[in-house]
């Protein structure tokens, strides 16, 4: 069983699915010759050729729109948007078309396609290279939103995403791309979409996170007895696992990188309030990015929830 970082694990998932299913194609900017700016698609062009690993013109809406057309025709494209900050140009394609085609045609046409994009902060890059815009897409019916948190689950989730009969947005935390190595089987396995992972069990507080925040959550909860939940799929999210844990601990802290207002934490907090308020000992707390634009490298650490802020929130809720 090879040890892989997340870049290699995603590459392995693409390679295996492409080898298995000739409907699977990779399209995007610089995904072929260059192997992707993060090298996620490295080597695929040589192995599968330019018909299946397609370097596209610099046109985000065109790339996602073309993927929609391919999917409608019966292929299973995996489109890469080079950074999540550039996905906005394709928002119309995702919201107005990919997510709605099955419904609009009452099942006659559908869009089994994946949009992969590097997501979140931590790479000291210019503006719009460190966005966490997941909440926009969680508000859209018809598309799933998946965020892996490590090499092993990245591979299993991406294989499931490619095989899913509906569109999936697959958000790859750039901070984690090369941070850790895990054993990643090179034989087939999948992880179900819509199912959370309990990273750590404890009794006093439930801390919910995803993507790159998870690593610092795990560090932050060391002095406490906490359930740590890695949602992995944000839409549809695993309500059962979240509610079961909160009913047990009576305390919930949500940690995310995106701005607070209308962030995905708001949906989680509202769900907990609707379904489990009578089990709560205190308010649901959110530790999030501030309601500002993600700053550049000099200030990004002040923006991101860190171990200290997460601990403060846990301390606060433990007073109840």
């Amino acid at each position: 069983m090879p040890t892989c970082n997340m870049v290699q694990a995603i590459n392995l998932a693409l390679r295996e699915e492409m080898a298995k299913d000739d409907r699977v194609l990779v399209i995007g900017e610089d995904v072929g010759m260059d192997g992707g700016v993060f090298r996620v698609t490295d080597g695929l062009l040589g192995e599968f050729g330019p018909e299946r690993v397609v370097d596209m013109p610099l046109a985000e809406s065109g790339i996602v729109g073309a993927a929609v057309g391919m999917a409608l025709y019966g292929l299973r494209p995996v489109a890469e948007i080079q950074f999540m900050g550039f996905i906005y140009g394709s928002f119309d394609q995702i919201f107005s078309h990919a997510a709605r085609m099955r419904n609009r045609s009452r099942g006659r046409f559908c869009c089994p396609m994946v949009i992969r994009t590097p997501y979140g902060s931590g790479i000291k890059a210019p503006e719009l290279h460190e966005e966490s815009a997941e909440a926009f897409f969680c508000h859209m019916p018809g598309i799933k939103v998946v965020v892996p948190s490590g090499p092993f689950n990245a591979k299993g989730l991406l294989v499931s995403a490619i095989r899913d009969p509906d569109p999936v947005l697959f958000l790859e935390p750039t901070r984690l791309y090369r941070l850790v190595r895990e054993n990643v089987p090179d034989e087939e396995y999948t992880l179900p979409l819509g199912k959370a992972r309990i990273v750590k069990e404890g009794g006093d507080v439930t801390v919910i996170a995803w993507g790159s925040m998870l690593e610092r959550v795990v560090k932050a909860v060391e002095p406490y007895s906490a359930d740590v939940i890695d949602l992995m799929t944000l839409s549809p999210f695993d309500e059962e696992t979240v509610l079961e844990s909160v009913r047990k601990t009576g305390r919930a802290v949500i940690v995310h990188e995106a701005a607070k207002t209308c962030g995905f934490g708001a949906e989680l907090a509202a769900t907990i309030a609707e379904e489990a308020i009578l089990y709560l000992r205190g308010p649901v707390l959110r530790v999030t990015g501030y309601d500002v634009h993600v700053p550049l490298a000099k200030l990004v650490d002040s923006y991101l929830p860190g171990v200290d802020r997460i601990r403060k929130a846990i301390d606060e809720i433990m007073r109840y």
Partner: protein, 356 residues
């Protein structure tokens, strides 16, 4: 170093049938009499559908409807050149295309009455649902053309849109990709001179829309969009070219929207009656009738029979559409995704039980 001219361009316009019903025999496409009759029937049927739809809307029996009045030749002529299995990506104003492709008419009435089930293309027809978002379906046709090439299929792909769409970013992105990959796709624009209240000359400073194609590295041609033969010929040639690896073509059908933008619009607010009257003299059906009369293909009796037959077909289609029971409320959940989420299922059940 002196300045040099490094590129010049010309744009062709194709006209075959004039207002008096005379056809340029050198350019006339090879069509049997039976084809000409069939085209005529489809044009009349399209107009009859349109007239009925406007009436039904006034009676509150269907919702907002976008008329194709004046654009019948652009739609029927182009669709007549398609194979049934070709892939069609329509805008929302394409009744004539649907009719010429043999789409079941009751489904069209059903859709415009507010029932998505009307957009379920029958198996064998690859007509995508109408794109209400202007021009955003152009990249879909491009992606489908990439898939056609990848699969080594013979199918052709065509996208229908209007002059307004030519200003959209997705027009640019789709055309860019189509040109860069020389894809087997035909872009058919019905330049009907008005994007709601925005006249064509304010949509772009370009003299023609057709010339835009040149910037993307492929051929653009303008055709008289009220001339069913010119539209048919240009589309057939573009489709053949696409199937034979010759790459994309942009066809600008120069036509006119004789009616309002939709039943919710009042075109008298922004354009003159004189302009509309001028275009009425270029009516695509009138000029085909003149040609057919000259050739002895259409008598007064034939004309009445075609109209009566169209009315019967439309009557039957409306009856059938109106006899379909309305969708159950759970319809809105059922084809959202293949497997509804827990929350969606719960909402569906809750709706049935009239929960919060």
């Amino acid at each position: 170093m002196p300045e040099r001219t490094i590129a010049t361009f010309t744009i062709k316009r194709l006209e075959i049938l004039d207002d008096k019903g005379n056809a340029d025999e050198r350019l006339m496409p090879s069509l049997e009499e039976v084809d000409i009759r069939r085209m005529y029937e489809l044009l009349v049927l399209s107009r009859t559908f349109d007239e009925r739809a406007l009436n039904l809307q006034r009676e509150g029996r269907i919702g907002t409807y976008p008329s194709i009045f004046g654009q019948e030749a652009a739609q029927v002529g182009s669709a007549y050149a398609l194979d049934k299995s070709d892939w069609v990506f329509p805008s929302f104003r394409e009744t004539g295309m649907y009719i010429a492709m043999g789409y079941p008419l009751p489904l069209l009435f059903q859709y415009w009455s507010g029932d998505e089930r009307g957009l379920i293309s029958p198996q064998g027809l690859n007509i995508l649902p109408v794109s209400v978002s202007v021009g955003t379906h152009i990249p879909h046709a491009v992606g489908a053309a990439m898939a056609v090439r990848y699969r080594r299929d013979r199918a052709a792909v065509i996208a229908y849109f209007g002059d307004g769409a030519s200003s959209k970013g997705d027009f640019h992105e789709g055309f860019t990709i189509a040109g860069a990959f020389r894809l087997p796709v035909v872009f058919l624009c019905q330049n009907n001179q008005w994007a709601i209240s925005m006249p064509r000359e304010r949509q772009t400073a370009a003299d023609t829309l057709a010339q835009k194609a040149l910037a993307y590295g492929f051929e653009g041609v303008q055709v008289d969009g009220n001339d069913v033969f010119a539209v048919y010929r240009a589309t057939r040639e573009a489709l053949e070219k696409a199937r034979n690896g010759g790459g994309p073509t942009f066809i600008e059908c120069y036509t006119y929207r004789l009616s309002h933008h939709t039943t919710s619009d009042d075109a008298s607010r922004y354009r003159s009656r004189e302009e509309v009257e001028q275009w009425k003299r270029k009516d695509p059906i009138d000029r085909l009738e003149l040609l057919m009369e000259k050739r002895g293909l259409l008598s007064g009796k034939d004309r009445r029979e075609v109209k009566e037959r169209s009315l019967e077909i439309i009557d039957a289609a409306v009856r059938e559409a109106e006899s379909v029971p309305p969708p159950g409320a759970d319809e809105m959940f059922l084809n959202l995704v293949e497997k509804p989420s827990r929350r969606q299922s719960k909402q569906m059940t809750g709706m049935k039980n009239a929960d919060v």
